[in-house]
């Protein structure tokens, strides 16, 4: 009974690990973003899918880019910081200010991504979930409430009509 209930319950989240990673995300973000503490954070990722055809071998490749996504409710700014799954470091932030972007919307197909076009040429698609189990590919963090807050902010105060 105990074993079966455990199997059917599915994977359990290691909250301690999640808390540690959330703290690391905050430390990295605050390190590179000016006034970083005024931003709320979630983990997101980008997916770059490309097709290849090398003669008798063909298929598709997917590249995953991990991101620390911060948003400031007051300034209506989203700051995106590239990182790696073990959170050992991060790159420079990119800012998307509501007043400066071309358009932003929530995609429905093929994934529920948050799409931002800073200008006509460039765009970023941010995917985010409550929790992703694969630690080799994604940052291990549980973020149900944070994701709900970000979705609300994006849809009601950041997305263009």
């Amino acid at each position: 009974m105990g074993l079966f209930s455990k199997i059917f319950k599915g994977p359990e989240i290691d909250m301690e690990k999640s808390r540690q990673n959330a703290a690391k995300m905050r430390a990295l973000f605050d390190q590179v973003v000016e006034n970083g503490s005024s931003y709320q954070l979630i983990f997101g990722y980008t997916e770059d899918v490309s097709r290849f055809n090398y003669g008798f071998v063909h298929g598709s490749k997917t590249k995953i880019g991990n991101l620390i996504v911060g948003w400031n409710e007051e300034t209506r700014t989203i700051a995106v910081v590239p990182t790696v799954p073990d959170l050992s470091g991060c790159g420079d932030p990119t800012y998307y200010r509501r007043s400066e972007i071309l358009k932003a919307y929530r995609n429905k197909y093929p994934t529920d991504a948050f799409i931002i076009y800073p200008d006509k040429r460039n765009y970023i698609g941010i995917n985010a979930y409550d929790w992703l189990e694969d630690e080799k590919l994604y940052v291990y963090v549980s973020q149900e409430k944070e994701l709900a807050a970000f979705t609300d902010f994006f849809l009601h105060r950041f997305a263009t009509k």
């Binding site: 540690q20 703290a23 430390a27 990295l28 470091g89 790159g91």
Partner: protein
């Protein structure tokens, strides 16, 4: 009586498929490395600025793991 030749045939087909799989993988990585080299020589990669995790955070984590 007919089971052994049948198994032999299945084994041969399996080995052929396995060989095809390894050849396909070899070909894929060969083309990928060549393309990477060609791209790298024409469009050299810019150095991306990288910031490592602050030491205090790393120490906190190490202490908790002990």
């Amino acid at each position: 009586m007919t089971l052994i030749p049948l198994l032999q045939q299945a084994g041969v087909i399996f080995l052929l498929l396995l060989l095809l799989f390894f050849l396909g993988n070899l070909w894929f990585y060969l083309v990928e490395s060549l393309l990477k080299k060609i791209k790298g020589s024409f469009f050299p990669k810019k150095e991306i600025p990288w910031h490592t995790l602050p030491k205090e955070e790393q120490q906190d984590e190490d202490a908790q793991n002990r």
